[in-house]
C-alpha cells in the first residue's frame, strides 16, 4: 500500500479510536467512582440508539436532534437504576454487581429483540456520513472527524466537571474514601446515583454516534462493551485520559487489522489488548481520578 493509504488508515484508526474512547468513558467513570463494572454498558448503548431510531420513525427526529431527548431520558434512567438496583450491590465484593448487571444485559437484549426484532438498523443523518475532506492524496471522513471532535469535547467537559467544580470535588472525595466523605456530610448513595445519571448520559451520546456510524442490532451490545472495556484497561484503570489513549490504541489496531485481511480487525484489536496487558499491565496512563 502507498504512503497516503497508510496515512488514511492511521487517521481513520485515530478517529475510530476516539469513538471507542467515548464508549469507554462511562465505564471508566463508573469504575473510578463506584468500583462498578456495568456489563449492560453495551446494551444500554444499543438501547439509546434504538430510542433515537424510534424518535426518527415516529416524530421524524434527526438523530442529532434526538440527542436532546435521548440523553436526558438516559440520565433519568441511570439515576433510577442506581437508586433502585445498583446501590444495593455496591461494596459487596466483585460478584453481586457483575451478576446484577449481567442479568440486566440479558434482559435488555431479549426485551429489545422482542420489541424491535433481531433486525439490523442504522440511524440516518443524510449526506454527512459519506462526505470527506480531501487534503492532497488523503481523504478524511467528515462524520468520523465530527465524532472525534464531539468525543474530545465530552472528555474536556467531563474532566472540567471532575476537577473544577464543587460537584466534582464531592465526587472525587467519595471515590477516594466513601466512609470519610460520609462523615463530612456527603450522601454517597445520592452521589452514586447522580454519577450514574452522568454515566448513562454519556452512554446515550456514545450510543447515538455509534448508531449513526455502524448498523446495529439488539444483539450488538456485548461487542461494544468489550471495546469499551478494552479501552479502559489498555488506558489504565480510573484514568479518563488513559481511556482516551486506550480507545485510540484499539481503533488503530482494528483498522490496521481490517486492512491486513477483512474480518481480522476486531481480532487484532483483542490480540493487541492482550499484548498490551503483557507489556503494560498497569495501563498506558496509571492515575486514579484525583
Amino acid at each position: 500500500m502507498n504512503m497516503s493509504g497508510w496515512i488514511e488508515i492511521m487517521i481513520g484508526g485515530l478517529l475510530l479510536g476516539m469513538l471507542y474512547a467515548l464508549f469507554g468513558l462511562g465505564l471508566s467513570l463508573g469504575f473510578g467512582v463506584m468500583k462498578l463494572i456495568n456489563l449492560a454498558h453495551g446494551d444500554l448503548m444499543v438501547l439509546a440508539a434504538l430510542m433515537s431510531a424510534v424518535l426518527a420513525g415516529v416524530a421524524g427526529f434527526n438523530p442529532f436532534a434526538s440527542l436532546l431527548v435521548v440523553v436526558p431520558i438516559m440520565a433519568v434512567v441511570g439515576y433510577i437504576a442506581q437508586r433502585l438496583l445498583l446501590n444495593r450491590v455496591i461494596g459487596t465484593g466483585p460478584l453481586p454487581p457483575l451478576l446484577v448487571t449481567f442479568g440486566l444485559s440479558i434482559i435488555l437484549q431479549n426485551a429489545m429483540q422482542e420489541i424491535f426484532t433481531a433486525d439490523t438498523r442504522s440511524l440516518q443523518v443524510g449526506a454527512i456520513t459519506s462526505d470527506a475532506i480531501v487534503l492532497g492524496n488523503v481523504s478524511i471522513g467528515t462524520f468520523p472527524l465530527l465524532v472525534a471532535l464531539v468525543s474530545l469535547a465530552v472528555y474536556v467537559l467531563t474532566d472540567a466537571v471532575i476537577h473544577r467544580t464543587r460537584a466534582g470535588r464531592v465526587l472525587r472525595a467519595t471515590a477516594d474514601d466513601g466512609a470519610t466523605a460520609r462523615l463530612m456530610g456527603v450522601r454517597d448513595r445520592r452521589v452514586f446515583a447522580l454519577s450514574m445519571a452522568g454515566v448513562f448520559a454519556l452512554i446515550g451520546v456514545a450510543g447515538i454516534f455509534y448508531g449513526i456510524r455502524t448498523p446495529f442490532a439488539p444483539s450488538s451490545g456485548p461487542e461494544r462493551l468489550l471495546y469499551a472495556f478494552e479501552a479502559v484497561v489498555i488506558g489504565g484503570l480510573g484514568s479518563i485520559w488513559g481511556t482516551m489513549l486506550g480507545g485510540i490504541a484499539l481503533g488503530l489496531s482494528q483498522l490496521i487489522g481490517e486492512n491486513i485481511s477483512t474480518g481480522f480487525g476486531p481480532l487484532l484489536g483483542h490480540v493487541v489488548f492482550f499484548i498490551l496487558l503483557l507489556l503494560k499491565p498497569e495501563g498506558l496512563l496509571k492515575k486514579v481520578i484525583k
Binding site: 463494572i37 466483585p94 457483575l98 449481567f102 468489550l226 481480522f264 490480540v271 492482550f274
Partner: protein, 298 residues
Amino acid sequence: MKHEISLNPVQDGSTSRLAITNAWRLPLAVVAVGLASLAPWWLGAADLRLCVELFILIAIAQMWNLLGGYAGIIVVGPQAFIGFGAYALFWTSNYFGMNPFLALPLAGLATAVVARIFAPLLFRLRGPYFAIGTWVLAEIFRIAVLNTDTLGAGAGMSLEQIGTMERWTRNAVAYWCALAAAVGVIGVLSFLFRSHIGAALTAIRDDDMAAQSLGVNVELVKRILFISSAAVIGMAGGVYYINVLHISPDAAFSMNWTAYIIFVVIIGGLGTLAGPVVGGLIFLGMRETLANYGAPGI
C-alpha cells in the same frame, strides 16, 4: 467438622446424625449411578439427549461454582473453553479419522494448555476485570474460528467419524460420557472439599488475605483451579457437541452459555456442591415446560 463443610459452614456439636447419613451416602450414590447408567436401555433418543445436556450443564456449572463460589475467580467467558474443547475434538477427530470419544482426553489436554498460556495474562486482571478478560478470550476464539477455513469458518463443522458408529451405541456412549463427567466432577469435588485442599479452598473463599497469611499459596491454588477447570469444561464441551453432531462458532462461543451456567449456579446455590445439580434440574425443567412461550435453547 470434616463432612458438610461445603454445604454448611456452621456446624453444631451433634455430628452423629450426619455421620449416619454419610455412611449411607456412598452406597446410595453407587446404586443411583448404577441405575442411571442403565438409562440407554429404557430411555428414547430424545430423552437421552436431554440427559446429556443436563449432565454436561451440571459438570460445567460445578466447575464454574468451584471457581466463582470458592476461589473467587469469576469467569464470564466459560464458553471460551467449551468452544475450544469442542473444536479441538472435532478437528482432531476429522483430521486424523479418529473416533470422537477417543479424542475427548485430547480435547481436555488442549484446553488445559490454552488456559495455561492465557492464565498469566488474565491473572494480571483483578476481580471484575478478570471476568471480562475471559470474555475477550472467548471473542478471540470465536473470531479466529470464523476466519479459519480448516475449522469450517462461519458455517461450522460436522463430526465425520461419528457415522462409523451405530446410532444407539453413539447415543449411549455420549450419555455415559456425560454421566461420567457429572458424577466424576461431583465425586472429585466432594473428595476435594473433605481434604486438606478443601480447607484451603474454604479459607480462600471466606477471606483470601487471611488464607494467604496462614500459608495458603493463594495465587498458585487459583491458577491450578483455573487450568483444571478449563480442562474439564473443554471435555464437557466436547461431549456436548458430540451429542449435537455439528458445531458452529456463534453457538459454541455464545454468551448464552454464560447466562445459563450462571442461572444454574445462582438458582441452585452459590458455593454449594448440590447447587448446580438443583439449578440444572430447575433450568432444564423450566426450559422444557416453557419452550412453547419462546424460551431460547443453547
